[in-house]
Assembly symmetry: C2
Homo-oligomer: 454 residues x 2
Amino acid sequence: MPIDPRPVPLSPTLAVNEAIVRKRREGVPVLPLGFGEAGVPIHPALVRELSAAAGRGAYGPVAGSAALRAAAAGYWSRRGLPTDPETVVCGPGSKALLFGLLLAVGGRVAVPSPSWVSYAAQATLAGHAPALVATPPGEGGVPSAALLADAVVRARAEGRPIRAVVVTLPDNPTGTLASEETVRKLCGVARDHDLLIISDEIYGDLVHDPARRVFSPARVAPERTVVTTALSKHLAAGGWRLGVARLPEGPFGRALRASLVGLASEIWSASPAPMQHAAAYAFGEPPELVAHVERSRRLHAAVTGAVADRFAAAGARVRRPEAAFYVYPDLEPLRDRLRAAHGVTTGAELTGLLLERYGVGVLPASAFGEADGVLRVRVAPTMLYGDDDDRRLEALGSPDPVSLPWIAGALDRLSGVLADLTDLTDLAAPAPGRACGAGHRTGSGHSPVAAAAS
Amino acid sequence: MPIDPRPVPLSPTLAVNEAIVRKRREGVPVLPLGFGEAGVPIHPALVRELSAAAGRGAYGPVAGSAALRAAAAGYWSRRGLPTDPETVVCGPGSKALLFGLLLAVGGRVAVPSPSWVSYAAQATLAGHAPALVATPPGEGGVPSAALLADAVVRARAEGRPIRAVVVTLPDNPTGTLASEETVRKLCGVARDHDLLIISDEIYGDLVHDPARRVFSPARVAPERTVVTTALSKHLAAGGWRLGVARLPEGPFGRALRASLVGLASEIWSASPAPMQHAAAYAFGEPPELVAHVERSRRLHAAVTGAVADRFAAAGARVRRPEAAFYVYPDLEPLRDRLRAAHGVTTGAELTGLLLERYGVGVLPASAFGEADGVLRVRVAPTMLYGDDDDRRLEALGSPDPVSLPWIAGALDRLSGVLADLTDLTDLAAPAPGRACGAGHRTGSGHSPVAAAAS
């Protein structure tokens, strides 16, 4: 055969989504908690804007329409980041823009550990395996300043210098928001070691406490910070594929912009024109969209909080999320039970068991750059909001969404799965029964819990 | 500054488009002949389909929706290429798919010379400068089989083996369609030397003679041929960003698909969901769209033919295009005049003069991989169809579009520019007057022709 195609695994978040869709199609009852989709309908006003622009067939400028760039500049300016529309570049999703930025950097980057699955994968595709740097305790998304400084010095000594650092504010997978102090320290290290900062703020409007706001590194180190965001999370339009990046002003920013726009022109030409029109409307933040985002934020807070409580009740170590729509429980306290009942010793074994035995789709910490043995899982409960738009809208409008029968039922099923997972009852039987019990459990394919909930 | 961003020039086609937009904004009368946009409105039925799907906010499968993949499979099956929907992968434009394929190949590729500007640029970004291989006389888009075989043997001896070959059927920039014999010979070389064939058939439905059809290499060498197409050209929806690839069946095809889908999942996640819905409708080829494509084809044939005639009348060497919407005249017969009147000796000097002095945007042959000294230019006359949709629709429906006043006027202006460009009258004056004449010409910024046509 002519070539040996480069082996590139499917992005784990998309892979678990597709596995869940397959299982559902096979008639297996599923609990889809793997995929980072916002889980609410796009607001009708935003849909109307896309409809109105459906006839736009021209390519338009690579960097995006003037209207969209001006609207995005206004969006950032209202968040304490005065922005010249000339520094804004639009792309088909912020994922594509991040890949373009990593190609433009053309060198090694540091990424937080844990962090979103695609930073490390993209960096590797762009030619340089990243340096993984742990985050401070309780704060995800921003590498610990001291550890980053160490990594930079070490990498330079090894002849593989680090050129940039990626941060996520607020964070996926941990659902936390790094403090101003942590961000300031990170910026200090970036200045000392002359690093570009790429700040992925796609969950920026989904901080659960409305009084808390993201403190962007662009506030402290504007000369070296790129900020990205998109319509995918707070406006639930992931399927539209539209993101924006805000680049630094000045000669360096202009050179970076020229490189990014050049790469964009060769990789994706331009972003979808109808979506650009709708995005210009969205970044203008009309009151109906602001209210919609506020309702989504409350829904995400309520359900992720309830999920965290269920994990805590089952004996996991877990923080209540502060932002976004993820929970990141650690099943370390249950390690002995998991090993005894199922022979599980790694995160991937744990999530594989959850998927195959219970139809529960979650991702292991290893997908986010943590060690294989870590028993944390990322839980994304947004798909529980409803199977159709009527239910999703009801969840969005409900003062107490976790009491809605389909959400309460899913949460109860999750509790049942967790109880069954760590249940050692069968193991109390004598040794032969033990093996038999384990065989019975994995042999059926469906657990009693999964069957009951179907 | 933290990093030295990778220098990536803007894709020349997009760059000339943006230069023309800037000039127009400055009030300079322009003749925009640089950009490969279809120049006709999207059919209302297709717009309606996008509108109907505007609310689709979910990401969906990386490879594309089942409905779109089935429709694309049907489209190819009706063209003599029976297609399993499982072998179809959708992307945000066929440009992004081509980049993904080059990354999946992970080695050096051969591209025709001349050929579309982005193949070579993408190959370089993917890590390997391409081998440029000349096409047979009068047939663009497919490297000469003998020259390709030579290049492959030489490259292997140099330790930089060629893994794949890109072909364009029909061709951009030449507007020609390679013959079945040429395609068969190319496939023979690909088999002999075990090359992957990437066949870009985005202009496949725009062969001017309805009795002639593209002969795809996938007919002869299905085990090693990937075919790409999109909505951008025959359906005029470039701004929608939606393309599809048809991969080989069998183990090699499956490995290539896994690699491409993995890359897609990390670079662009998925293609815009509303566009996928509309594309499924489009690839179903309902009669109203088939008729629309037929009308576009006639319009492209009429106007490109007329443009070719104008260049021929001005003394250029030029073929009447057989497909797509490009003319590729060679001003070599006018070389002495161009040098005497303007000091022009390269293609880029020629197109620079045309843009700055006359507001005429065309691309030099060097942008398509030909030598700097070649005086060919690529002319894309689709922007002349009209400045608004009323005119474009009138052009589309006209039995004789070149007689419409705005198209006839633009063609006359083109003739005027070409006459002025090669006019040596001023040069008949004595030596001092000569320099003065040249100074007067370039000093005004607007030529008399451009001013008259404004």
